[in-house]
Subunit: 139 residues, 2 copies
DNA sequence: TATTGTTATACTCTATAACTATA
DNA sequence: TATAGTTATAGAGTATAACAATA
């Protein structure tokens, strides 16, 4: 494998995420009525695909710090977007899941992210989009 | 295209960058002798592939804010990692380039990033690595 | 009038460590 | 002893706006 493309990879990925974030952020006033911010949105999206799950599981899936998620979930719970129920198997943790309000909120976030992603992937052919998704989903 | 993989894409990419950053950061004490931080490193790598260039060009390539880069370059110049020369074509800006010290520093950063990327892409086959690099380089 | 670069500011995100409760 | 979660805090990163100089 040649040398240069490896660094280009890291730089391109960073730019891709930055552009995606900028597009979503520009629309934030329209949909982020709870002011949970970009990471709050990612947490809800992740939870929607993994619920019910203890906090540690979400931290692993997102590759993020548990201390950060702890405060975030406290905030999301206060806004009644997520709920915690007792975990029979391990009393150190509770199981997190989306409330009906949280589910509705995730649907709105997903539609915004979907639109932003479509714009960013626009220049690619359909087959390349599929290919890219396949490769990245294995990371 | 199915619905779910799109959000998985954004979440996976975020996690990929987070893992890459964590690996590089863990080795920072060994190579970041100038304490320029992860973004400083990305700026130097970008500049190494685009020099000589005015600041605005680097900001575009990285998708980052010019105000942020302005302070960063002032810091990098103070550490004699980059230099600015007059831009004949446009006197509002000056052309940025790496000093010999900067070039040497970039080589060290690249070797660390290369190692971290190899670890992260480890589970993929050789052909998949090449394919992924090709797709991402077009974003 | 628009663009390049600088400075200032308030805000958010992040890493880290110390602590408790349970396994 | 190890792990799940919480809290606190210092530091790094970010968006935004206002400004001067040049195009």
């Amino acid at each position: 494998m040649p040398d240069e493309p490896q660094f280009a990879l890291a730089l391109q990925i960073d730019r891709l995420m930055r552009r995606l974030n900028a597009r979503v952020h520009a629309q934030a006033p329209l949909f982020d009525t709870e002011k949970i911010g970009p990471i709050g949105g990612m947490v809800l999206m992740t939870l929607s695909e993994a619920q019910p799950a203890p906090m540690q599981r979400i931290a692993e899936l997102m590759g993020r710090d548990k201390a950060q998620l702890s405060r975030l979930f406290a905030n999301l719970e206060r806004r009644e977007l997520v709920q915690r129920i007792a975990n029979e198997e391990d009393q150190r943790s509770r199981l997190l899941s989306l409330t009906p309000r949280g589910e509705a909120f995730v649907r709105r976030i997903k539609s915004v992210v979907k639109g932003a992603l479509e714009e960013i992937l626009e220049p690619l052919s359909e087959s390349e989009k599929g290919e890219r998704l396949r490769l990245l989903s294995r990371t």
